[in-house]
Every structure is written in C-alpha cells, then in structure tokens.
C-alpha cells in the first residue's frame, strides 16, 4: 500500500488514543476545511507549571486529518506549553514521516491549525492560515 496509508497512519485513524473529550480544559478550539468538510475540535489541559497534562480531539474527516490529530496530541502531551507553541509544520511532517502534495498537506495541517488556534487563544470564527502555523 501507499506509504501514506501505511499501518502507522491507519492505526491511528482506526484506533485513536486521544479521540474524545476532557472534563476540564484550559484551551479549546475548533476549525474546519470547508472544501472537504473535515472538522476538528481540540481540548488541552495545562497544569500550573505550564505543562500539557492531557488533550483530546474530536471531529470528522479523512484518515490523514484524523490520524494526524491523534499523532500530534500523542506527541505534545507531557510537553511544556512553550514547546508546543514552537511546534512547526515541518515538525509535524517529520512526525508523520510522509511526503505530501499541496492538497493532502491541507488535510494533515488542519490538526496543527487547530492546536495553534487553541494555544494562542483564538476566538471561534478566527482562523489561522497554513502560512501562520
């Protein structure tokens, strides 16, 4: 199968570890990709030391958008918020370990756009572009 759909991505899509909701959270944000109807919602818990202690996502969309949300949250839980703020597009692509054309990039980056929207405290309706993340 295509490396894009190699087990790693499909596993996270079919059996996500971070799908769901938290009782309580410091940051929350959601955004979508209107051209394909992908939608993503994220919640983050942060402790008094500025550490991300837990996170969840929910949404609908293609395997790539959902798996990349799961993989991203797996990576940032336990990290300082400041480090999360620095997390870049390239970091995410490294994490996914795949090369993407311009259209699929949008799918993969939705998770990062939502994460950044959350940690930078964007209001509903405000939106980041791919260049901003």
């Amino acid at each position: 199968m295509d490396d894009l759909y190699r087990e790693y991505i499909l596993d996270h899509y079919k059996s996500p570890h971070f799908r769901g909701h938290l009782e309580d959270y410091a940051f929350v944000y959601e955004d979508d990709n209107p051209t394909c109807g992908d939608h993503l919602h994220m919640e983050l818990q942060v402790d008094e030391n500025g550490m991300v202690t837990d996170a969840r996502f929910d949404g609908i969309g293609c395997a790539l958008s959902q798996a990349s949300a799961d993989i991203l949250l797996e990576h940032i839980v336990g990290k300082p918020l400041e480090e999360v703020k620095q997390f870049s597009k390239d970091d995410l692509l490294n994490l996914l370990g795949i090369s993407l054309g311009p259209v699929r990039l949008k799918c993969a980056l939705l998770s990062l756009k939502v994460l950044k929207g959350a940690v930078y405290g964007l209001k509903p309706g405000e939106s980041l572009t791919e260049e901003d993340v």
Partner: protein, 415 residues
C-alpha cells in the same frame, strides 16, 4: 452494455495514441488511468503541436500588425473564431468572444449585461445543479443590486424537477441560467425545452456549456441559447481560453466589460468609443496561441464527430452505472440513467472521499474528491464531499473495471 459493443463506436486504442500522457506511469509499473476529465481533459499531440508551431514559427501580436507574422497570427486567431462559431451553430463569428474560461464568460454577462439590465427585485432563475461559476457571479450581483435568485430544485436522482418550472417562470425572471450538464450528477437538462418555456415567459437564456459542449453536439440556435459559456481546457484545448457566445443584437447592446487596447475605436484623454463586436469585449492582448490551440482541438473533435463522442460516452455511462451501484456501501449522487454524461460522483460508508482518491491514486487511477465547485448541491444531499470519476472519449471499459476493482480494495483497507 458490454465492453465489446463499445469498441464499435470509437476506435479508442487508435485515438489514445494521440494522448501521450495516457502512456505515463504515475509510479514505476503503475500506468495512469485518467478519470478526471470533468475537471480538465487531456490534450492530444495535435493541440500541443499547434501551440508549438504557433509559438515557434508565427508568433506575433494580432490586429494592428502589418508584417508577415502579425498577419499570419491575426488570420489564425480570426479563423478560429469562425470555426468556433460553426462548431456551436452560431449565426456569425461576431457572436464569439474569447475569454479565459467559462467562469469569465458568465462574469462578463453578469457585469456587462447584468449591471445594464437588472435592477432591484429582478429575478434570475438558476438551478440547484449549478456550478459555483453559474452561482457566485449572480450572488455578487444580488449583494450589489438586490436582484433575487430563484432555483429550479434538484430531485433525489440528481435531475431537475421540471414540474416546478412553470411556477418559477411565473415570477417573470429576466434570465434563466442553466447548466447544460451537471459536473456532479452528470444530468443533462432538457435545455431546449427550458429555453422554450423561458422565452415564452419573456426571459433570456444562458446555458453554462462547460460540460455540455465538450461532450455533445451543440447548436445554439436549435437549443435556443441566447448566451453560452464554455472552456477550451475541458474539450482537449489549452488552458487560458474560453468562449462567451451571445446573440448578435444582445452582444451589440451590451456595454463593454474590461477596458483597454483593441476594445476601442477611438480614445481621447476625455473618453472613448467602443469597438465593434466582438472586439469590444476583448481588451488587451488575448490568449492568441491558446485560441489557435483551441482551433486544433475543434478540428480533432470534429474529425471524430461529436455525435460519436456523445454516443460513446452514453455507452460507457451505461456500462459503469450498474457496476458502481453494485459496490456495497457506495452511494451515487446522481442516479439518472437517461440524459446523463459519463460522470459519477459518489460517497462510501466509512471512507472519506479523500481517502478513496488517495487509494485510487495508489493504483494509478486519477479521480477527484471534494465538492466539485457545487457545494450547495452537496449540502442539499447532506454530504460535504464526494469522490468523482469521469470518462471521456479516450477512456475504456477496462479502465472502468479497474476503477471498480480498486474501490473494492479501498473497502478492504478501511474495513
């Protein structure tokens, strides 16, 4: 419809040889199966050669040049205008305006005719099948001028509810703007009948021919189209050029759209006089080489025969439709068996259209995933996006079989 019956209509193997891209492999060992002609068609060698020949041997700006190259270029450009007129049955080459694409043709109409003729509360009647190109320009005019948009409803089969037409026409729309073929459901509305009723109600008729002109013989006078829009790139021609057709007296009465060189007769510092049609609507240097390339595409299509292309696509549609409908968990957006082109938009339980497209790409199969610039239609069917496979004269039943096989494979991957 059997695969062998199809080969009697067109000699597809022979014409495929004219399309070098169809010999391409997307990865080593994986040949391309191009099922995305509704988005843009592939180009035969002949078109690319016409472009290259123009650029390398006759290239010049047109209309005002006296030197040999300029005269050759002008003649080639204007001859293509005459060929386009003939191709769609226009009464005169003067009714043919070259624009960028079907989208610009409709914008030209909305800006030049619309702003001169439509006022607050005037009705423009569209259909729920329309592509954004035949929707957003009218929404812009609605926001600016307060015109009202009404819609002929789509049926659950992806066709038009013609029974709703009389009541909508009773609102006395100034314009009825309808797609000649939906790029999603593949449905080909009975444009001649719509035009007949529209004219009776006093409306003018725009046909969005972006999907119709590449796939069926078109005669604007027989159809009763007052305006027609289409794109070269969807009918074997180059990108960057499209056609706006308008009946001569309508075209002459329209004020200009863009201003600049060539669209004027006289200019002083204080004002200008517009040129005769069609030049009045072609400001600045047009897509000269691309127009010439479109001429080569028309020659190619004409040599094969639009009747034959239409028949072949009808046959391939009849071949594909039942096979797609057999795939468990696959839902077609557009199930009509009659009056349909060979375009199939569908969604599948538990697999996002992006994932379908991605997996099909793995097998070299190029389809599209998204809302295909018909977001309202998708919303009406309750799906944000679909996968869409479309067939043109160079596609074979074998390619359809491979599509179906790959869809079963996708179901396995996501099971």
């Amino acid at each position: 419809m059997s695969a062998s019956a199809l080969s009697g209509i067109l000699n597809v193997p022979r014409l495929r040889a004219d399309f070098p891209v169809l010999e391409r492999e997307t990865r080593p060992g994986v040949p391309l199966i191009y099922l995305d002609s509704t988005a843009t068609s592939q180009k035969p060698r002949q078109v690319v050669e016409a472009l290259a020949d123009f650029y390398l041997h006759h290239n010049a700006n047109i209309h005002r040049g006296i030197h040999t190259l300029a005269e050759e270029a002008t003649a080639a450009y204007e001859e293509t205008r005459a060929r386009v007129a003939k191709f769609i049955g226009a009464a005169s080459p003067r009714e043919i305006v070259f624009v960028r694409n079907a989208t610009e043709a409709i914008n030209l109409l909305a800006y030049a005719w619309g702003r001169a003729n439509l006022k607050e509360d005037d009705v423009v009647l569209l259909t729920e099948l329309e592509h954004h190109a035949n929707l957003v320009p009218w929404q812009m005019l609605a926001a600016e001028r307060g015109i009202r948009l009404e819609f002929v409803p789509v049926t659950p089969e992806g066709t038009l509810d013609m029974s709703a037409l009389p009541a909508l026409l009773a609102r006395e729309p100034k314009l009825v703007a309808v797609s000649g073929m939906s790029n999603v459901t593949g449905f080909q509305p009975d444009v001649a009948e719509i035009a007949r009723q529209a004219h009776e109600a006093g409306a003018l008729v725009l046909v969005d021919g972006a999907q119709l002109v590449p796939h069926a013989p078109v005669d604007v006078q027989a159809l009763g189209a007052d305006f027609l829009a289409f794109s070269s790139h969807k009918m074997l021609g180059p990108t960057g050029v499209g056609v706006f057709y308008a009946r001569r007296e309508l075209l002459e009465a329209m004020p200009p759209f863009q201003g600049g060189g060539d669209m004027i007769k006289r200019v002083t510092f204080s004002g200008f006089t517009a040129n005769d049609v069609p030049h009045k609507f072609e400001a600045g240097t047009p897509a000269i080489a691309e127009v010439v390339g479109l001429g080569a595409a028309l020659d190619y299509l004409t040599a094969i025969g639009m009747e034959n292309i239409h028949a072949y696509e009808q046959a391939i549609a009849a071949y594909v439709l039942p096979r797609l409908q057999e795939v468990p968990g696959l839902h077609l957006l557009g199930t009509a068996q009659e009056r349909r082109g060979a375009v199939f938009a569908f969604w599948m339980d538990d697999i996002h259209p992006h994932d379908i497209a991605q997996i099909l790409d793995h097998y070299g199969i190029a389809i599209r995933a998204g809302h295909h610039c018909a977001q309202p239609l998708h919303l009406k069917f309750g799906v944000p996006a679909t996968a869409r496979a479309s067939f043109y004269l160079y596609n074979t039943p074998d390619e359809a079989d491979r599509l179906i096989a790959a869809l079963y494979k996708a179901k396995e991957v996501f099971a």
